[in-house]
Symmetry: C2
Subunit: 108 residues, 2 copies
C-alpha cells in the first residue's frame, strides 16, 4: 500500500535538524541561570552594579567554595565578569551578554 506518508519529516527537510549554533548558545546562557543561587547572584549584581565576592558569599546560604563555583559558571557563560581589586575580586554583570540573553529569549 501507498500507506504511511506519515513518515514525513518536519518541514519536509529530509535530514535531521542541523546542529543549531544559536540553540547551543541560548542553551548555554539559559544553563547559567538555571540554578536559583545563580539567579540570585545575577540579580544581586544587577541591583548593585558591582559587588565583592565576599559580599555575595554573605548573601547566600552556601559555603564560600560553592559560591565560587557558581561564580565560575556564570563567568564562563559570559554573563558576569570579575576583576581583581587588590586582594578582593569585584564582580559585575556583562551588559552585552545579558542583553543577548534577553533578546534571544524574547525572540523565542
Amino acid at each position: 500500500m501507498a500507506k504511511k506518508q506519515s513518515k514525513k519529516k518536519c518541514d519536509n527537510s529530509p535530514v535531521k535538524l542541523k546542529a543549531d549554533p544559536m540553540a547551543e548558545e541560548l542553551a548555554k546562557l539559559a544553563w547559567a541561570i538555571a540554578h536559583p543561587a545563580r539567579v540570585q547572584i545575577v540579580r544581586l549584581l544587577i541591583g548593585r552594579d558591582a559587588c565583592m565576592c565576599g559580599e555575595i558569599v554573605d548573601c547566600l546560604p552556601l559555603a564560600q567554595s560553592t559560591v565560587s563555583q557558581h561564580l565560575k559558571i556564570l563567568k564562563e557563560s559570559g554573563l558576569i565578569q570579575g576583576e581583581v581589586d587588590g586582594p578582593k575580586v569585584c564582580y559585575c554583570v556583562n551588559p552585552e551578554r545579558l542583553e543577548q540573553l534577553k533578546q534571544w529569549v524574547a525572540a523565542l
Copy 2:
C-alpha cells in the same frame, strides 16, 4: 583608622538572602531550555503551533526515548503541553508560560 566598612552585608540585611521563590521559578524555566535539544523542540513547536511527537523525534538526531525525556522535562516546566490525539500525542507550547519566561528574563 576607622578602617574599612567593607565588612557590611549586602543591602544591610543581617541575614542571608531569603529563599526567593521567583528565583526558583525562573531557574526552573531556564533549566527547561538549558539544553540545545530542548531549545530546538521549543522553537520547532513555536514555529508550527503544534507537532506530533513522532515528527519531533524525526527532527532530532536522538533516540525516541531520549526525545520523550526532553518532552517530559519541558512538560514539567509548563513550557509545553501535550494532548493525546488517538494513538499519537500532539504537543504545543503554553503561551502563558512562555510569556512568563520572557517577562522574567526581560525583567532581569
